[in-house]
Symmetry: C2
Subunit: 457 residues, 2 copies
């Protein structure tokens, strides 16, 4: 019997023989039902002790690869369906661009590595052994305390630590909230159009119908909500994604009045509101109506998506249901990372980082606006002085998809508006130009390429 086995030093012979036998059975080289050589014969053939073969046969019989029957020797079991390993799929390399102006990215070169490392090391050092076990599915107390303080201070959120639930991503928070609503009978919910696509993806994934609601220059069009017959709405009131619009106070009032009258839930996605350059950010909607609003926040824009640290603050009547969601799926961030973020916030390192990043992003934004004014004066930039990308309306007659395609081909990563629209053919043709990750000179060079894409020669 040729098993094609070449024994290596350092690994027990028995384990090597078992591995070879499993492989031969799986590949069909040892067919179902075929009789194996006696342990004595195989031991001689391989030059190993008989005990090695006996043990290997016994192990594979236990595992179901072999069937040993008194008197008829050892056979390959009937059950295994021979076949090679599954077809090898190539994992496509992620899209990369010479100039990466895709929206939604932060400046990863400015990530506070040393401070974050110090916070991680301190958490590792100070964590008592027993806390390496299962932690609360709501998040560790240190982080819930720190977040409650930070959110009250920086975002005007009405919250106590017991109402903060830590999660890995805003999309996980949304998913949990949608499941809770679904469980309470909701069927239709509203999402922004244009909007962050995960608003819709997560709602549909939870079995809900996602109704797109238009966004205009005042924010989400609340009158259309009333007609949509929905039980909840998710939106980005303080800085709409991707248009950059800030919802007017009148709309905020109308939204809350709608939710109160209909007993609907407002989900406030507070994704990048820390980056407002001209004045203090608008305080959270949640602070106006804590009983109607679930607040969702993340470190993906302020620090880095790689950290996978986010949070939600549900209204108190939903907290038990939300906690149950997290209990069942078991998905909280690692304890050490949570404690690191807690001390990062308590030591004011987060707010220090945000102050420095606001200066950095404002400068980059100014550079990009200046470059556009020089290279593409017909492009109109709208939205408030905030966030991580520009909303750039193209000149009349210039089509966004073709432009974006040409820009990408020339090495500039960016998004066309339609990627973020649910309904087909939005009226303005626009591009989303992220300025956070590229350097200032890259922003200037990219704008030159973009001009060539807008007006191809």
């Amino acid at each position: 019997m040729d098993l094609g086995i070449e024994f290596k030093a350092g690994v027990p012979l028995r384990r090597q023989l078992e591995h070879a036998l499993r492989g031969a059975i799986r590949s069909g080289r040892l067919a179902s039902g075929s009789v194996l050589p006696s342990s004595r014969d195989l031991a001689e053939e391989l030059g190993v002790s008989r005990g090695v073969v006996v043990d290997s046969y016994a192990q594979l019989a236990t595992e179901g690869y072999l069937a040993a029957r008194r008197g008829s020797g050892t056979r390959v079991a009937e059950l295994s369906q021979p076949g090679g390993p599954p077809a090898r799929r190539q994992i496509p390399p992620p899209e990369t661009f010479r100039y990466d102006l895709r929206p939604g990215q932060a400046d990863y070169h400015a990530f506070p590595r040393d401070r974050w490392k110090a916070a991680l090391l301190r958490a590792m050092r100070e964590l008592p052994d027993r806390r390496l076990g299962y932690a609360s599915h709501r998040g560790v107390p240190e982080l819930r305390n720190a977040l409650a303080g930070y959110l009250a201070r920086a975002r005007g959120v009405v919250v106590e630590p017991g109402h903060v639930v830590v999660c890995c991503a805003a999309s996980q928070g949304l998913t949990a909230l949608w499941h809770v609503l679904r469980g309470r009978g909701a069927r239709r919910v509203a999402v922004e159009d244009p909007g962050w696509r995960w608003q819709r993806f997560t709602a549909e994934h939870a079995g809900l119908e996602a109704v797109p609601i238009r966004v205009d220059a005042d924010g989400l069009v609340v009158e259309e909500l009333a007609e949509a017959g929905v039980d909840a709405v998710v939106l980005t009131p303080a800085h709409q994604y991707p248009t950059g619009v800030v919802m007017t106070p009148e709309r905020r009032g109308a939204l809350i009045a709608w939710a109160r009258q209909r007993q609907a839930l407002i989900i406030e996605d507070d994704y990048d509101v820390e980056y407002r350059f001209d004045r203090d950010p608008v305080a959270s909607l949640q602070g106006l109506a804590p009983d109607l609003v679930a607040f969702v926040g993340t470190t993906s824009k302020t620090l880095a998506p790689a950290l996978r640290l986010a949070w939600i603050v549900p209204p108190s009547h939903l907290i038990d249901d939300v906690e149950h969601e997290f209990l069942v799926t078991g998905v909280t961030p690692p304890t050490i990372d949570q404690i690191a973020l807690a001390s990062f916030i308590e030591d004011a390192a987060l707010e220090r980082h945000l102050r420095s990043m606001r200066r950095r992003y404002r400068a980059k934004r100014d550079v990009l606006i200046g470059a556009l004014a020089r290279q593409l004066p017909e492009v109109r930039v709208s939205g408030t002085a905030a966030g991580l990308h520009l909303f750039a309306r193209l000149p009349d007659g210039v089509e966004e998809r073709a432009t974006a395609l040409r820009a990408r081909r020339s090495g500039v990563g960016l998004h066309e508006l339609h990627r973020h629209c649910t309904t087909v053919a939005p009226s303005p043709q626009a591009l989303l130009l992220g300025y956070a990750l590229a350097t200032e000179s890259e922003l200037i060079a990219a704008t030159r390429l973009l001009a060539g894409a807008v007006y191809p020669s």
Copy 2:
């Protein structure tokens, strides 16, 4: 107007005034519709410049707390429903025991802190800036490569890196698989009885009916599966939780034959199989039928639950659907932690740790068995020499619930069997005694208290 404000140094006056105004409006001290003092009057009253008050009023108007109308001054907006913050809920402290013999825990005192810290630091140091952005929802390539090698080597899993999906917890992996099955029309799935409760919780959470299937001395009773009319089954074949039974080769064969005939999915939960003390662990069921079995593994028993690092290997026909689940909910472990685990595996630190823990756990198991033999000779320990707890059958006439209650009252944390049963009143009265976390002398002392709980004076 008394805002009860005491200005502090170091925080802008304007921000302090805004905070005080929001608080007064929320608490109802400033009622809806009431008129605020003019900016000049309030500035004088507070001893601040008028600009501070003007800016604060403007900010709160933007946020929807105030409504400014030409000629009628600034009023508190109508929308806010006054009310204090939500009732303060006490977070109950987690259960702690003088002697913690609850099953499912690892020896956290033996966690390889230095090696793990070194792996984290190396990951932090070597991670390029751009990888602080969004990583693949399937997990980072380094970890998928490392896991594919480890699982093939240690668990006989047939796998290539592209088929490993990294997640935060086994329960998350189960949840994703259940959602995929539900999406493909499954309605009923089978879980073990007794079994790990999250098998059932996650299935029901995904909208599936969980049908409990009996476990006997040969493992899951496969004949009862056929009658249950289910589309999938989740089980712990290599070391059943909590009975400690190893599924016989005949049952393994029958299970695979059933799944092949019915085109059902087998979910193999490989939670603590690395800890087999008398021989090599039984190789995975997945290796026998990679097209029928989804393999689920975790670091919660081998390293620590606090790490929140787990993985699944779905059969290839489900991989796209499973990946979609992870894409939508956005829940992968942090990039740095994933890369740390990858190097931990590649440097053989995991296998070294497992070897050392096997010695440690075997010794503890022997101590507990010895102590039981001396103190409670009527208690029968069953299950293979493996895992992290003993399955201890109580003497005839001794009731497990009352015994467990008495034991807990005397300071010994443990589980009674019924906690892990779906059907009521299991025939054997048994306790689950974890020996991983307690020290050897604690195990001896706990057994003495347990004897008092079994035979109360």
